[in-house]
Amino acid sequence: MSPVLEVRDLRVRFGAMAAVRGIDLAIERGQTHCLVGESGCGKSVSALAVMRLLPRGAKLEAGAIRFADEDIARLPERAMRRLRGDRMAMIFQEPMTSLNPAYTIGSQMTEVLRTHRGMGRAAAVERAEAMLARVGVSAPGMRLGQYPHQLSGGLRQRVMIATALLCEPDLLVADEPTTALDVTVQVGILKLLADLKRDLGLAMLLITHDLGVVARIADVVSVMYAGEIVEHAPAGQLFAEPLHPYTRGLLRAIPVPGKVKRGEKLATIPGIVPRTEAGFRGCAFRDRCGFATYECAEPIAARVEGAHRWRCRLEAGWREAA
């Protein structure tokens, strides 16, 4: 079966800054692919590029985005509009501001069905109500008449999810969908996304900086650093045997309750993310890496072993010196 979404060598630039430097991604039906990394690593830009929603000033420089049997990287805006909200949908980090404060939930949901399905008002309202019920919103009929400010953050995110799923898309892109929510609400939303993915056979691209979220929901993980995917593996494998020094650093930086002692410093990765301009060569992590050698300033080829892919001079099975 061919993947729902296949991204090849995607490159995005903001002026001289190379924000995304040639990433590859493939997501199959019923699969949750987590793109994880710290702020500014290019993960959100990659997600927006897939939806062709890059902000002004960002340029989709190169790459192929295969979706629904065509390369949408160069598709005209008019054709993209037909796909967005219908075959591919997106939800965002800020459920507070992502809904229009001036319109009711019902109006913002039904317009999707009217646009893509040409549905009449009554049919659209009925469908919207059913979808709200499906994502676990209580009293869905009443919610349709409410405005965003009358809903809690968790409810708003459920509304966003319901709206995204109205046309039964093949691909759902979720950009930090739980980051702005309370921890208890986060769990509910993640569970809902997992259920929906299973029931509807969605392909889901989930962007997050939170490895806790990854552990909960991911089937496949791609770790991004400075615009590149530095490691890619099935979730279980990545947590069991991370191979890129950056991934190891990230995992070590997670404080584990019970193991962290009071007064002891939490593990961090020293240094800062470099600015990667066009023409940057070699491993972007080398200045922060304890294993870097002169080789790391040269272009690094990806190593592949089964489903595990990493971009480092170190071979599988390397051990840190004790």
Partner: protein, 305 residues
């Protein structure tokens, strides 16, 4: 909502009374009506007699109280010069100014809204910069001067439009344009900045992610939010326009309230001046309260509270 309304009404009443006291004092200080009526050659006794007849020799607080008490009962007194009731003077002059004001604000909105939206969508382009420059120029141009220029171009040189008076509806075109010219930059800039913000807002990104048409994104999702402050400011601008009609009516020789005010100020006809000032301040305060109310009604977050 009720508290909000009561508060704005109270503030409005305070503004009105302050304006009235100030205008009362200023008009008394600016000249002597009795001399104007009696003529420059009149004897001191004749002037004193007229002053006594009109009650102008009484202490100022008494005069003010007397006027205010009558005004509160709807009696605005009689004009000293026109020998007519002030209320009927206002009734004949007000419709002209009102029509002028409404034409002007409609014209301002029709011009400023589309240009503001276009400038926002073309943010940073030559078009946007040119619009901004023209708006700045418009704000800086005195309206009496613009009025005179237009009279010369369209009235005298081209003979397209009348240069004075409003005997036909074409007479309203030039003066409403001059009045609108003051409001256009304000509305245009507000529309532009509101639209620029709205087009960058998260909910517009959501609308794009939903695959909505460009028209729906701009006119439904962005404009609705950008329009809230524009509506409020337009109401206040209508107040400014009515106030600005004093200058424009004089330039175009239109016998509306502004002209009446100018004439009676020049001749010290206090009852008329006070009545016009009262009316203008009531209208202005009324429009301000209305604009608060309308913007509250447009915003669901305020409406429900």
């Amino acid at each position: 909502m009720l508290r909000f309304l009561l508060r704005s009404l109270l503030l409005g009443a305070l503004v009105c009374s302050t304006v009235l006291v100030a205008s009362f004092l200023l008009s008394r200080a600016s000249g002597n009506l009795a001399i104007n009526i009696a003529g420059p050659e009149a004897s001191a006794e004749a002037i004193a007699k007229i002053q006594h007849e009109l009650g102008l020799d009484r202490p100022l607080p008494v005069q003010f109280y007397d006027w205010a008490a009558r005004a509160a009962h709807g009696d605005l007194g009689r004009s000293f010069l026109f020998h007519e009731k002030v209320s009927s003077l206002i009734a004949t002059h007000f419709p002209v100014t009102f029509r002028l004001g409404v034409f002007a604000i409609v014209l301002a909105l029709v011009v400023a809204l589309p240009l503001g939206i276009a400038a926002a969508l073309l943010e940073g382009t030559m078009f946007d910069i040119a619009i901004g420059a023209v708006a700045l120029l418009g704000q800086a141009m005195p309206s009496f001067w613009l009025g005179l220029l237009l009279i010369i171009w369209f009235g005298i040189d081209l003979h397209w439009l009348p240069i004075a008076g409003v005997e036909t509806w074409t007479g309203y075109i030039l003066p409403s344009f001059v009045l609108a010219f003051v409001a256009i930059p304000v509305i245009l800039r507000l529309t532009r900045s509101g639209m620029v913000d709205a087009m960058r807002a998260d909910y517009v990104r959501t609308a794009r992610a939903k695959g909505l048409s460009r028209a729906s994104i701009v006119l439904k999702h962005a404009l609705r939010n950008a329009a809230m402050p524009v509506v409020a400011v337009s109401a206040v601008q209508l107040g400014f326009i009515l106030g600005g009609s004093v200058v424009v009516e004089v330039v175009f020789n239109i016998h509306g309230l502004g002209y009446l005010a100018w004439e009676s100020i020049g001749k010290g006809d206090f009852p008329v001046v006070q009545a016009v000032v009262l009316l203008f301040s009531l209208i202005f305060v009324g429009l301000t309260v209305a604009s608060d109310l309308v913007s509250a009604l447009l915003d669901p977050r305020v409406r429900g509270a």
